[in-house]
Symmetry: D2
């Protein structure tokens, strides 16, 4: 059971809830978010039901949910949510295309990729300035210089920015540039980072851990939600299996499964799951058809020179077909491409 | 390297190839198929190239392919194949719906399921008479009595039959009733069975082993092809991973990957991969959008009474939407539903 | 619930059980084994308990077990079993070494490998005459000629023979030569083969499917047991995971887990799980220390010429250390090497 | 190629290396560690070989290693390393037992667990003050209060402390109490944390990510090593597979594989891999027999009251057998239990 306090609730109000729960032999975990305090109760749920907690001063909501995740569960929030990123919707009525380079390398490369993104129908720009790499000897991203490039390209194109943050100490820095913070697959259970992005006042894209069950993924989202931030978009990006023909195995079933369990939007990354340019378009079509609320795709003006993941980036010749997919498939699912709603300069 | 002999080739012709290869230090594996003999060469391929084997009497084709599978490879067969089952095409121009009960239980249930299949746009009927079950105490299928029911329902509805065979000793029996033989996931590397269906003179649907790599799957198809039978349809039905939210993890990427590697058609089983009724429609849309040449779906008039896999069978209320998907999605991929081609009585 | 009939039970006795169960709304699956008939009951178990089935004529035993596998469960058979193969025990008091070539190639190679096996302390000879291979172009074994070689080497050395059978139609042939029938990993759910070896009157070594859960493995053993054959030895040989540094991932925990769930002996194959010569000795020590009732190891006099799996075969230089392991480790687990009990000529 | 600078190397020396590499078209990644600077070179390795970098001022060592990990590779460091934690060795000559509670809960519980650890032969105390938990509503550890308890118990018993750090911002705090820093499975690719512990001046235990390949694990160790800290102990703790009978699948083969690839010590965690008390002793024996340099085991005086992972903690009745294993098994591998070397008060 989770108690959501009103924004005006006092410390005394919070203490009163904790004390009442203690009298029933329960434990209360208090989590102070940006806007409000959330109290998770552990113990004999049936007993708590008799306590009439909802009538205490400062209590906004008492959430009784049978799943281990509470705030992100669809159980007491049947309507699916829409998250807005710099005005662009990601949610049940639209299909949103996020595109851009895997890593920000130069202003020219980033601007070129942004223009490719727009040509394909994208309304959000992706691009990594901080890159988590398996090898310490691989290119680790430009850091703040990369964030500045992204901001310039946003200025030039109007595209809001989605970019990854890998260190809780850098969340404020990244949030000062980004419209949406991305938590990558390797950090899905970096709980310090989850708490930090939960408090950063920016929408968050939470990629699924490559070894995470759907339940663990939703629990990770709960860490963010618990800090008072429900502007979370989940991103399926492939899981690790025995198959080596693809970089990862895109778990396409996760899209409808997550939408049944959670009210949060869920998008798909066909670039990192497949790991091959040839697979991006079929997997994009597949994701939209499965009901994904968006896709996030690597594009690069010169993938053969890319410092990161060149083999999976789309090139100029692919953009026409991607634009066609974005135009023709969403209507079959009673949706529109987000681009149709948001005029891009 | 693989040598395909002409149908008229004599034993002497075959011996001549084997002897010539031996002089170059190679080994020749002779496989006598229904219509023709196929000789696989192992050893120093470069050396074989100098032997001029193609000019020997009785040699129809010399296949030089770099992949470990030869006859099913797309490398020297760039055009994708169409397999016909009782006149119904499965191939690159169509999307074919195969539907029916997981297991044949009674004449009424089977006929009811067949009528559901037709209502949804199916042109082939699936139904198991021999069921491989994890538990020896579970329902194992009606055996030949089930095959007779299928034949009666074919008589009544005109739908050609796809049914599983689980024992090499029963291939002739099953082939005497079935229009297409199915090899199930647990038997994908039952090489005795593969050889037997390769010689049975019927198209074969080869389901992917739940733990098989795509390469192993194509090698299993090669066992069938080597017996002279290239009427093989591959069926992706989910692989086993750590995720337990779904029965198996549908490897949707396998569709475009297989189509790049092999000329054989590939279809998807959204019922067995997801294991939940709710997932069948999203996964069907997803499969067609990924480029699958067809789908195979469980339907049951009374799934709550089903002796096998009831929770994943579609019910009457789902058929309208399935029919809509079969009508609206194929055109977006420049295909037609197979139903549009084949009038069903 | 499972009913075991006496060897003398008549058809009339069996029918009486089936009829009685039907009156309680249950289903009875009758399985006629070599020595006795076994009847599996499906339905309302609590109801069956009131039927007093145990007092019917011809009923030897009524097995109430909560696990889905019944005859192989330890639940009503707390004492762990010992299986004897040509007089050699495999069970809780011993550690049995089975060794030999992966594939029988020539009389000299097989005899050489058998002598290596003896030098290392082996009391059973392994060797494949029928080889299930991923590629149809790979060496498939010598067939019956290989069985004859094994029989000659048994004559010469006194070692009983363990050899694989891959086709239900060949079980009688293989059983006429072999002391123990092996069912390989790819055939663990080849139910036709399981039933056939269950009726063959020989002990069976059942390798774990590389993708099989422990429960599925025990269910496969139940198929054999149901035919009246409880002389089953389970063999853990590695499962398929994402890790590619080893051929398979040896699931060493399966040894104690299986021993808690089943009374059957369980051995380990360190050669096929690791796939590298260097790993065989560490994994052998590890298996014995985990409590395995034996190990099965590839040895080859000239592995560089082996037609199958040469890289994992032990060579002469490894035998001394293997013999030392077989001598020193079992006593730490209050066991003796089986070799100490069975004088080998 | 990796250049290790001498502790006395100046900025000018470092710049000279970088400039020289640039003239050959290569890129140099400079990493300033606590004691020395390390420069990773990316580009045409053959070309670098002609540059005679080793003769530049300030260059201590030029490491040419074919594996992607350099400093932790065994390739140019054939002797296996010993890491000392508060005087206790972990390395090739010993078997070290680390034991204690999963989580520090109270002073009494921690001291009780420490006494259990000593009784079993442990020479290092484990215990978590910062606990990464799947659910934000689960007990997250006592934080610094837990560290103080650990320090008091060290005072009382003499056992050096191993404890987890989960946030780069807390590394200094945890290092001020701990003798060894533990990086947990979920943080194996938290590169910010790896860099921070690499600079903390304490030995590090790096647990394998539950989905990490052995190569990725060694790359993660390289991140730590690159900061100048080579006091790293690797800990195999089970990987995630399809099998659900155990919490994770202990990859016992990883022990000999890692020891072949890296000079770092490797230990095993039988508690978290198995997840059941019954499996801890068999897996401990198995790990030592496979050649592990140590084991880390959960013990708890009252596991039924544990706030974390009670079902896997050993209890008083298990300690005698664990002590026997620690005494009898290491000599069979020409080792001694670390306890025999380090008198514990």
């Amino acid at each position: 059971m989770v108690i959501v306090m009103t924004p005006e609730a006092t410390q005394q109000d919070v203490d009163a809830v904790v004390d009442l729960v203690a009298t029933a032999g329960g434990d209360a975990f208090v989590s102070r978010g940006v806007n409000r305090t959330i109290i998770g109760l552990v113990g004999d749920i049936a007993q708590f039901g008799t306590l009439n907690i909802g009538s205490l001063p400062g209590v906004a909501d008492v959430i009784r949910v049978s799943t281990p995740y509470k705030l992100v569960s669809r159980e007491n929030h049947p309507e699916r949510s829409t998250v807005r990123v710099g005005g662009v919707p990601i949610g049940p009525d639209t299909v949103t295309l996020i595109a851009g380079p895997c890593a920000v390398e130069t202003p020219e490369q980033t601007l070129g990729a942004a223009r490719m993104a727009i040509a394909a129908g994208a309304t959000l720009l992706r691009g990594g300035a901080f890159k988590p790499r398996t090898s310490p000897y691989a290119f680790q991203g430009l850091g703040e210089a990369g964030l500045r490039i992204l901001a310039e390209v946003r200025e030039e194109t109007g595209l809001p920015i989605v970019t990854e943050v890998v260190d809780a100490r850098e969340v404020d820095l990244v949030a000062s540039y980004a419209d949406m913070l991305q938590v990558g697959t390797r950090n899905m259970q970096n709980f310090a980072l989850l708490r930090a992005v939960g408090a950063a006042g920016r929408p968050v894209m939470l990629k699924r851990g490559m070894n995470a069950t759907i339940e663990e993924w939703l629990m990770a989202a709960e860490y963010i939600a618990q800090r008072g931030n429900l502007d979370i978009v989940l991103c399926e990006r492939g899981i690790r299996t025995f198959e080596t023909a693809t970089r990862n195995t895109l778990d396409i079933s996760a899209v409808p499964v997550v939408q049944r369990l959670s009210h949060l939007p869920v998008i798909v990354d066909p670039s990192h799951s497949g790991g091959h340019r040839d697979l991006v378009l079929p997997l994009t079509r597949s994701a939209i058809a499965a009901g994904a609320d968006g896709v996030i795709i690597d594009v690069h003006p010169h993938p053969e020179q890319a410092l990161c993941d060149g083999p999976q980036a789309l090139v100029d010749g692919d953009l026409g077909e991607l634009a066609r997919v974005m135009r023709d498939f969403p209507p079959l699912l009673d949706r529109v491409a987000a681009t149709a709603l948001v005029p891009v300069p």
